[in-house]
């Protein structure tokens, strides 16, 4: 049975799709039109009660939150595709650490930039230039730390 991934082909659903491809897992995408607000409709809220994408359905099993989904598939298909979780408990701990860094330090300013620079204009919402500048500065600081980490 093929994994169904609900959501558009950008943003958090893409995180799941990249993982499934790395692990050589077949999937099917089911589009959810965020611009039209489909994720807030009663039908979708039955699948994901917080009204956000993605959600997956794997037979009877439903799971949401992209970073929970990728952890699940990386573990479930340990034996195939790319090893994504480290070999020891300590290596797994470091994977979890940098997943959390991505979620709490990297994602928020990126999200602000994308919403203001990309989606705002599409929806006719004026861009918040202060938020853009602050987010730009924040992400630069985070990437400085990443740069140093990768050099080491």
């Amino acid at each position: 049975m093929v994994v169904k991934v609900y959501g558009p082909a950008y943003g958090c659903p893409k995180r799941v799709l990249v993982c499934l491809i790395e692990k050589q897992i077949e999937f099917e995408t089911v589009d959810v039109d965020l611009i039209k607000g489909e994720h807030k409709e009663p039908e979708f809220l039955k699948l994901q009660p917080f009204g956000v994408v993605p959600v997956i359905q794997d037979g009877d099993y439903t799971l949401y939150e992209s970073r929970a989904i990728i952890r699940y598939y990386a573990e479930k298909y340990r034996e195939q595709g790319t090893e994504l979780l480290g070999k020891t408990i300590e290596e797994r701990g470091l994977v979890e650490q940098w997943l959390e860094v991505e979620a709490h330090n990297f994602q928020p300013p990126i999200y602000n930039l994308v919403m203001n620079v990309v989606f705002g204009p599409i929806q006719g919402v004026p861009s918040d230039t202060k938020a853009v500048q602050e987010s730009d500065e924040k992400i630069a600081k985070v990437l400085d730390i990443y740069e140093e980490k990768i050099i080491r």
């Binding site: 917080f50 939150e65 408990i89 797994r92 650490q97 959390e100 730390i145």
Partner: protein, 213 residues
């Protein structure tokens, strides 16, 4: 060797780690970090945690930061002792991760905004943004409505037993009730309230509350 936990015992994120270590019976030592005076942004601390945040743990040569990574690590490392905080099957583990992510992305930011505007800024002598606090409260009401429905179907967030998903909420909800005086968010919801009473009366949490005061 005793696990060193860097951070003030009064802050939510270190408390998340301490609660987990107490549940699993892991000995620890708290190394205070003075957030009020910006110690977390000092060079000596940035060597341990380059983003300038608490907590960090040092376990012999192994260093780890991000509270939700630390609790996952210790819950896995000590799977055989104390309560099972990660579920038994892969699918159960994924539900724990799902609700941990819900806490991190749907609950935590709203909880933190309320604490910042209603408690932390005023304590620093600055006015909080009451309009922002109010809109955060309204959003948090909607989130907790979803929790209430979930907890009408399930004894704990991820299933039948207490897991990291429930534990992760302890510090934030405690702060909301004790410091931000937002207890009505919990008590007005039958299932959320019953769940809160259960998890807040766990011996490990009570031990931590005694440690804090």
């Amino acid at each position: 060797m005793v696990v060193k936990v860097y951070g003030p015992r009064t802050a939510a994120c270190p408390q998340r780690v301490l609660a987990c270590l107490l549940e699993k019976g892991v000995d620890f030592e708290i190394v205070h970090v003075d957030l009020d005076h910006g110690e977390q942004k000092q060079p000596h601390f940035l060597l341990k945690q380059p983003f300038g945040q608490v907590p960090v743990v040092e376990d012999g040569d192994f260093r780890l930061f991000e509270s939700r990574a630390i609790i996952r690590y210790y819950a896995a490392k000590h799977a055989e002792s104390g309560p099972n905080l990660l579920g038994t099957t892969l699918e159960e583990r994924a539900m724990v991760d799902q609700w941990l992510e819900v806490e991190a992305h749907n609950f935590n930011d709203l909880c933190f905004t309320l604490m910042l505007q209603l408690v932390i800024l005023p304590k620093m002598g600055q006015p909080g943004d009451l309009a922002l606090a109010h809109s955060s409260e309204q959003k948090l009401e909607k989130v907790l409505d979803v929790y209430d429905k979930r907890l009408s179907e399930s004894a704990y967030l991820a299933g039948d037993t207490f897991t990291l998903a429930d534990l992760s909420h302890l510090p934030g909800i405690d702060h909301l009730i004790e410091d931000a005086k937002m207890g009505h968010l919990i008590t007005q919801r039958t299932n959320v309230n019953a769940w809160w009473q259960k998890i807040a009366s766990r011996p490990a949490w009570i031990k931590l509350k005694n440690l804090i005061h």
